[in-house]
């Protein structure tokens, strides 16, 4: 489950901004947005072989939107979480070329966090209709008790 941190470190040596750390979650790699694709590429290819994108989602940390790429190596059954911070209304670069599994989750994340999607073959809204705010941002509130009671 937990990959060897030093090996990952080595694999990402070319990526300047990559920081590898072990947290409660597992092995986390934090990279800058512009080096994200390179980092994922390094992880996917080579002997590290993380061919599967388990999940892709965002976390609104209050200062930025953290995009989490959860990748997995099936042969060794190891998980790595790659995180990169994007500013609000920033640009999310599609990684579908590396991981086709990202096609829908990327659209969803971009939509629900109000990001722009770059390099995606079909960058439309996915879940909601036009005019609905990016709902997963912390700044967008849910309905209050009074609102729902009054209907």
């Amino acid at each position: 489950m937990l990959p060897d941190a030093t090996a990952i470190d080595k694999a990402l040596a070319a990526i300047g901004s990559a920081e590898v750390a072990t947290t409660t979650l597992g092995l986390e790699v934090r990279v800058e947005a512009d080096e994200l694709v390179a980092a994922l590429e390094a992880l996917k290819s080579g002997e590290h072989d993380f061919p599967m994108l388990v999940d892709l989602f965002g976390i609104d940390t209050g200062e930025a939107v953290d995009i989490v790429y959860h990748v997995r190596s099936l042969s060794r059954d190891e998980d790595v979480y790659v995180k990169c911070a994007l500013s609000y209304e920033g640009e999310l670069t599609s990684v579908w070329n590396l991981y086709p599994a990202a096609l829908l989750p990327e659209r969803e994340t971009a939509e629900l966090f109000g990001l722009t999607l770059a390099g995606h073959p079909n960058p439309k809204r996915l879940l909601t209709t036009d005019g609905i705010e990016p709902l997963l941002l912390k700044s967008v509130p849910i309905r209050t008790v009074e609102e729902v009671r009054d209907r």
Partner: protein, 401 residues
């Protein structure tokens, strides 16, 4: 109603990035694009959201040439109801009610994943008896869920009888689940730290009664649908997803195993009482719809086997660990996954130390399975599309969340 129009066919809020497809990823035959980018000589049909066999409110936009699908686009969001957002406004032990309604066919699995994620943050030790009960309920739920899949799969290919026989068996399972948990679908049974309630002897004997008949019923299903030459003619060799594609699309569960990758969370990342159970993981070879079918049928038999072991092996003890009434896990993140009926159902929790999650992420296995449709539909007949939707077994509740 003016504010409600569906504009998914115009460029939405998101910018239309200048698109350069670059190199296609390995194993992917085509670049998935929206249907409206293509020529208009063909017939463009909407399948769904209201269609008898899109398993809820999935909408597929198909471009047909005669009856052959040229291009397919998935449109979802008709059931988007904010499970993730609402999860940030629920206390930890209330998460189960949301998880139930995500993958509503197999609620126990969802609850289990959420409970495990919380336990991981809290570092709670769950009593052995609770673990066994969780396993037992999971497997019962798995059969119930597969029965719905099986029935609707029959319905998709026009075999009405199949659906009703499957519903008969599902009713039997639901009766057990209702007796144990109190509801027919939204169980709210697995809680952080344990389970809600114990089995009574009557329930145990009800399960045993069921176990006596289920083998015969499974044989009947196998003979009625699986043994039917017409069905074999229709599903063999369609919708083939080879290993590489399946992994690339992030498929999990029976869909992945149908493609020949023997990854099963229950075996490879054991949780609950699975390490103590004996079971096989059925694996397909070519990854066509028939393989997925046989894998699921095999899973049902394995589940029966596990239920037998569980019902005999439940240890004595508590069913609930000592957990505070209001959970305040320390700040941190956790990811817990279970093998739900549809694949790896994961829950990613971010805690900031308060009594509600800071971020609650539901990893829906169906969403990832669904993407593979855009890959396997083109080139198939329209009738195959219906079968293929059925064969990947999706639940819209968790796709849209």
């Amino acid at each position: 109603m003016s504010e409600l129009h569906d504009t998914s066919y115009e460029p939405g809020l998101l910018a239309e990035g200048t698109f350069d497809p670059g190199e296609r990823p390995a194993g992917i035959k085509r670049i998935p694009r929206g249907v409206e980018h293509l020529a208009t000589e063909h017939l463009v049909v909407n399948v769904g959201p209201q269609h008898p066999s899109t398993h809820g409110v999935l909408r597929l936009v198909l471009e047909l040439d005669g009856e052959t699908i040229v291009n397919a686009e998935i449109v979802i969001g008709y059931l988007h109801r904010g499970i993730e957002k609402l999860g940030e406004h629920r206390r930890y032990h209330q998460l189960g009610t949301l998880m139930d309604r995500g993958d509503y066919m197999s609620g126990i699995h969802g609850e289990l994943a959420a409970a495990m994620a919380v336990e991981q943050l809290m570092e709670t030790e769950v009593p052995a008896k609770a673990q066994w009960l969780r396993t037992l309920m999971s497997e019962i739920n798995r059969i119930a869920s597969h029965m719905v899949w099986f029935g609707t799969f029959g319905l998709d290919c026009g075999a009405m009888g199949q659906f009703l026989y499957a519903m008969r068996d599902r009713e039997a399972l639901i009766d057990v689940l209702e007796a144990v948990t109190g509801q027919r679908m939204m169980f709210n049974y697995v809680r952080p730290g344990g389970v809600l309630a114990d089995l009574t002897p009557e329930m145990e004997s009800a399960i045993r009664t069921f176990l006596r008949t289920i083998d015969g019923y499974l044989d009947e299903h196998d003979a009625l649908l699986g043994g039917n030459e017409i069905l074999q003619m229709r599903v063999k060799g369609i919708g083939t997803l080879d290993r590489e594609t399946a992994v690339a699309f992030g498929l999990t569960g029976a869909n992945l195993r149908g493609s020949g990758v023997g990854y099963d969370v229950r075996r490879d990342r054991p949780y609950a009482a699975y390490p103590e159970l004996e079971f096989d993981v059925p694996v397909g070879s070519t990854g066509d719809a028939w393989d997925r079918y046989t894998v699921r049928m095999g899973e049902m038999r394995q589940a029966v086997r596990m239920i037998r072991q569980c019902i005999d092996g439940i240890p004595e003890g508590d069913i609930m660990a000592k957990v505070p009434k209001v959970l305040r896990p320390p700040a941190g993140e956790s990811y817990a996954c279970v093998e739900s009926s549809r694949g790896e159902l994961g829950v990613h929790l971010v805690s900031d130390g308060s009594d509600m999650p800071y971020r609650f992420r539901y990893r829906p296995p169906s969403l990832y399975s669904l993407q593979a449709l855009e890959e396997i539909l083109p080139g198939r007949m329209f009738a195959d599309a219906i079968m293929l939707i059925g064969s990947i077994d999706i639940v819209l509740g968790e796709i849209d969340r």
